[in-house]
Symmetry: C2
Subunit: 507 residues, 2 copies
C-alpha cells in the first residue's frame, strides 16, 4: 500500500476502521435474521402444521356435537324445527285450511307492527376497525331525551403532524365542547357536525375530552351512532337516547307487617264451599292479610271477612280474566297466588317466599303443592316464520344462597311474585278455561322465575261433597273445567298468532 | 493539495463527491424543517391562538347558557333542584316530621332493591384505547341465554412477528372457534379462556373470524365483557345475554271490524244516569263495540246492553283501581278510555285514532274533550336523593305524517292505547279519588304519548238533574270527588316514596 504522507495515512486508517465497524454491524444483523428464521422453522417442524394456505372449518358433524343443551342445538340457524312426535305441536295446523292463508297475512302484518315498535330487528353490530388512532366509548353511553352529557374517553393518539383536522358527526343530537377555544379552532358548536382544526395535539385532546352530546328529539329507545374522523380513520360509537323507567316502589311500613307486604289473590268459580275452607285455613296463620277474590260464578255468595275484597265478574267470564282482575287490584309489593281449593298448613310460610324475593332479583318464586313443584324450562329457537318453543321438565341452575331453590321458567299455581312484574306480563283474558303454561310463555323475556320445594300448601281433597247444592255446583264446575277439543285447538291457534310461534315440543 | 498517486486521487475525488452529496441532503432536510416551522408560525399568527399550554374550559356562566330546554338546564349535576314557588312541591315535606327519618331509610332500602333488579346503576362505559391492533364489535352483539353465536368482526392487524399469541376471555360464557386447527394452535376450546398460538397471521385471522360465544348461565339481562389480548394491547367488547320479550299480537280478524280492534273502557261511581247517556251516545255510532264498565257504586244498577261487560267492585274502592280493573279485562289490541260523563258525537271517530296507532310507534294517543287537549310535557332531572320532575304545558315536537297531532308526555282522559302498554304501566289502585297526572308520571320511560286535536268527544253538561234520586247520588259523588287536603298530602307523599322523586315544578 502507498502511504501518501501524514494526511492520507490518517484518512486511510480512519476509513479502514469505519469499514471494519460496518462489516461487524452487518454481520450481527445477518446473524439475528438467521436466528429468527431458524426458530420459526423449528416451531413449524415441531407442530407439523400444514402449509399456510390450508384454512378449513370443523366439519358440520363436529359442529353439531358442540353447543347442545338438553338435546337442542342452540346455534344460529335460519329455520328452527320441532320433531314430529306425539305431544309436539305445529301450531298452524290448528287453523282451518280455508282461513290459513289470510291468517298468515294478518299475522305477518301484526308482527311487523310489533317489530317496528320494539326497534327490531336490531341493526347489525357496529364493528371497530384495527389501529384507529382514537380512544372512544364502545358501550354504555346513555342520555335522557333532550338532555346533554359529556362523552367519555374521546382522545387522539396518532401521527404527529402540523395541523390536526378531526370531525365528529351525530344524527339525533348536536355536539359541542366545554373547552374554551379560539373561534376557528372549533367549528359547528351546537350543530350535528363538530370540526376541530388545531396544530396542537394537546389542544385537540383537551377539546375531545370535553365534547358534549345533546339529544334533540324526544324519542326514548333510539340509538345515535356518532362518528369521529381523522383523515381516512373513522371510529363509530353508540349513544343511547333513553328515558329510564320511573321506579314504582312500595313502602313496607315501619313494622314490615306481612299485610303491608303481601296480598293474597285467587279466582273462584262455582266452588264457594272450597273457597270458604281455603279462607278459613289462611286466617289460621294470617289473620289480617288482604285476600282479593275474583268471582265469575253465576250466583256469587257473600264472603264474611273484613279483609277480603270480593269482585263480581260477568258469569263464566273466565279463568285468566279473573286472574288478571285480581292482580290488577293489588297495592302491596308482593302478591301470593293461590287456587281456591288449596289449604294452608304450618308449612305454608309466606315469609320464606318473601325472603327469597327480597334477597334475589327474581320476579316470581313458586312453592310446592302437596309435594309437587312442577318445575319446567322453556327454551326458544328463533325461526323466520315464527319461533320454536321447547318445554323441558326441571330447572336451569341452583339459586345462589337458597339450597331448596332453583332457577327455572315455570312453576305451580302457588307462587309469590312482584306485583309489578305480574301486571307487566298479565294473564290473557282470552284463556277462559284450562290454562297454565301459557302464562309462563307470555312471560318469556320478562319474568325471572325460581322454585322452592320447602314452602308447601296442600290441595283440598277431591271428595264429592255430601251437600246436594255443593255437589250440583261441583258437577257444573267440572263441565266447564274439561279441556275440550275446541278449547285445545283455540289455544294452539292462539300460540301461532299471538306469540308468533311455529311449533312446540315437550319432554 | 498533495496528490499521492492515482489511487489517492480517485479516493479523494470520490470522497469529495460524497461530501458534496451529503451536504446537499442535509441542506434539503433543513429547508423542509424550516418550511414546516414557518407554516405553523403563520397559522399560529393568523389565529392569534394562545401559547400551547393555555387549556381552559368555558366559564360556568357560558356553560349555563348552553343546554337549556324550556328554561331547564338539562346537563349532568349531582343534585337537581326545584324552584321554591306556589304550585311547586318538595315531596318529603308531606310526611310528618316524626316519621320522616324512618321513611327515608325504608325508601332507600326499597330503591336499592329496585336498582339491583334493574341492573342499575349501569356500569361505567367501556372505553376503547387508540391504536389497538384488533377489529371487534363495539355494540350490538346479543345471545339468548344458553345459546351460541358467532362473534362478528374479530381480526388482528398488527406488527408482523414470528409467533402470534392472542388470548380471549369471557366470564358468563365459554369460547370456541369453528376453525379446524391442529391441537396446539387453539387451547381452551369450550372454556372461559381461549388461547391462539400461531406463526401465521392468516391462520390467526381465520380462527378469529369463526370465534363462537356460548352463554352458560340462564340470566337474561346480563352483559358479559369479553376481552381480546395481544401482548400489552387489550380490547374489550360487550356480549348481551338476553331472552327477547315474546310477542303478544292480536288478530284483527278478516274484516278488521272495529269491535275486534277496540274495546271501550270506563269506570263509574254513583252516576248511573250519566253512564246511560254515554252508552246511548256510543251505540249511535258503534252498535257492537264491547264496553267494559268497572263499577264501585254502593248499589250498582243493571246495564241492559249485550255488549257491555259489567264488573262490580267493593263500594268506593276507587278511581284508579277501577281503571286498572277495566283495562285488565280487555282482549283487543286497543282500548279506548272514556270517562262515564262523556258524550259521543259525529266527531268522535275512533277509526282516526286507530289509524294513528297503527301507523306510528306511539303507545297512547289522546283526543280532545270539547276542544281541550290538555297536553303536557314531563321533564326529569336526576338527583342523588330522588329525581326532580318538571311539568310544562305543550308538546315536544310534531308527529310525522299527522298534521293535527304532536308528541307529548300527558293528555286528557280520552285516549286510545295499546292494551299491552297500558297494562304494563297500570293505574295504581292506591289512587282512590282525584288523580290524572300520576298515571303519566308512572308511564315515564314506558309510554310514548301523542295527542291529536281533531278527534273530539263532548262532556255532558253539569246541570243538576231534576230526578231527586239522581240529584242525591250526584251530591254524594261530589263529596267523594273533592280533592281533600288529606288526599293531596297522600299523593305528594306517594310520589316521594313510590317514584323516588324529590320535588315537582309546573308551569
Amino acid at each position: 500500500m502507498d502511504y501518501c504522507g501524514w494526511r492520507s495515512l490518517r484518512q486511510w486508517v480512519q476509513f479502514k476502521w469505519l469499514l471494519v465497524f460496518s462489516l461487524l454491524l452487518v454481520s450481527a444483523l445477518l446473524l439475528q435474521i438467521f436466528k429468527t428464521l431458524k426458530e420459526s422453522q423449528e416451531y413449524l417442524r415441531k407442530s407439523d402444521s400444514p402449509p399456510p394456505f390450508a384454512l378449513k372449518l370443523l366439519s358440520q358433524e363436529e359442529i353439531r356435537k358442540l353447543f347442545n343443551y338438553n338435546g337442542l342445538w342452540l346455534f344460529p340457524q335460519k329455520q328452527c324445527e320441532c320433531e314430529k312426535q306425539p305431544g309436539n305441536y305445529i301450531f298452524q295446523e290448528f287453523y282451518n285450511e280455508s282461513e290459513l292463508e289470510a291468517v298468515k297475512i294478518r299475522r305477518k302484518a301484526e308482527f311487523e307492527h310489533f317489530q317496528r315498535r320494539e326497534g327490531l330487528p336490531h341493526p347489525p353490530p357496529v364493528l371497530a376497525q384495527p389501529n384507529i388512532p382514537f380512544g372512544y366509548p364502545i358501550h354504555g353511553v346513555e342520555v335522557m331525551p333532550l338532555h346533554t352529557i359529556l362523552i367519555p374517553g374521546l382522545k387522539f393518539d396518532g401521527t404527529k403532524i402540523s395541523l390536526y383536522k378531526v370531525t365528529l358527526k351525530a344524527s339525533l343530537g348536536t355536539l359541542n365542547t366545554l373547552a374554551d377555544t379560539p373561534d376557528n379552532e372549533v367549528l359547528g358548536r351546537g350543530q350535528k357536525q363538530l370540526s376541530i382544526l388545531t396544530p396542537s395535539q394537546n389542544h385537540l385532546n383537551f377539546i375531545l375530552k370535553h365534547v358534549t352530546y345533546t339529544s334533540t328529539i324526544y324519542h326514548s329507545g333510539a340509538v345515535d351512532i356518532v362518528s369521529i374522523e381523522f383523515g381516512s380513520s373513522v371510529a363509530k360509537f353508540p349513544v343511547h337516547v333513553n328515558q329510564p323507567t320511573i321506579p314504582k316502589l312500595f313502602d313496607p311500613g315501619p313494622e314490615r307487617k306481612l299485610r303491608d307486604l303481601v296480598t293474597i289473590a285467587t279466582k273462584t268459580f262455582l266452588r264457594p264451599h272450597k273457597l270458604q275452607i281455603l279462607l278459613k285455613s289462611i286466617r289460621e296463620y294470617y289473620p289480617d292479610v288482604t285476600v282479593i277474590v275474583a268471582d265469575d260464578s253465576e250466583k256469587p255468595e257473600k264472603i264474611d271477612d273484613i279483609y277480603v275484597e270480593h269482585y263480581i265478574m260477568p258469569f263464566g267470564k273466565g279463568w285468566f280474566a279473573g286472574r288478571n282482575l285480581a292482580v290488577s287490584q293489588v297495592s302491596t309489593k308482593y302478591v301470593l297466588w293461590v287456587d281456591d281449593d288449596f289449604l294452608f298448613t304450618e308449612t305454608t310460610k309466606i315469609e320464606a317466599l318473601v325472603d327469597i324475593l327480597e334477597k334475589t332479583e327474581l320476579d316470581v318464586v313458586g312453592g310446592s303443592v302437596s309435594g309437587n313443584v312442577f318445575q319446567f324450562k322453556l327454551l326458544m329457537e328463533q325461526g323466520e316464520d315464527g319461533d320454536c318453543i321447547h318445554k323441558r321438565s326441571g330447572h336451569f341452575q341452583a339459586l345462589d344462597g337458597f339450597p331448596n331453590c332453583v332457577v327455572t321458567s315455570g312453576v305451580v299455581n302457588f307462587f309469590l311474585a312482584h306485583t309489578e312484574s305480574l301486571q307487566k306480563v298479565g294473564f290473557d283474558p282470552r284463556l277462559q278455561r284450562v290454562a297454565h303454561t301459557e302464562f309462563f310463555i307470555d312471560g318469556l323475556g320478562s319474568l325471572r322465575v325460581g322454585s322452592c320445594s320447602n314452602v308447601i300448601v296442600k290441595h283440598q281433597a277431591h271428595n264429592k261433597p255430601s251437600d246436594p247444592d255443593q255437589a250440583a255446583l261441583e258437577k257444573a264446575y267440572s263441565v266447564f273445567r274439561t279441556n275440550t277439543q275446541n278449547q285445545f285447538k283455540f289455544k294452539m291457534a292462539l300460540h301461532y298468532f299471538k306469540n308468533h310461534l311455529q311449533c312446540y315440543t315437550q319432554r
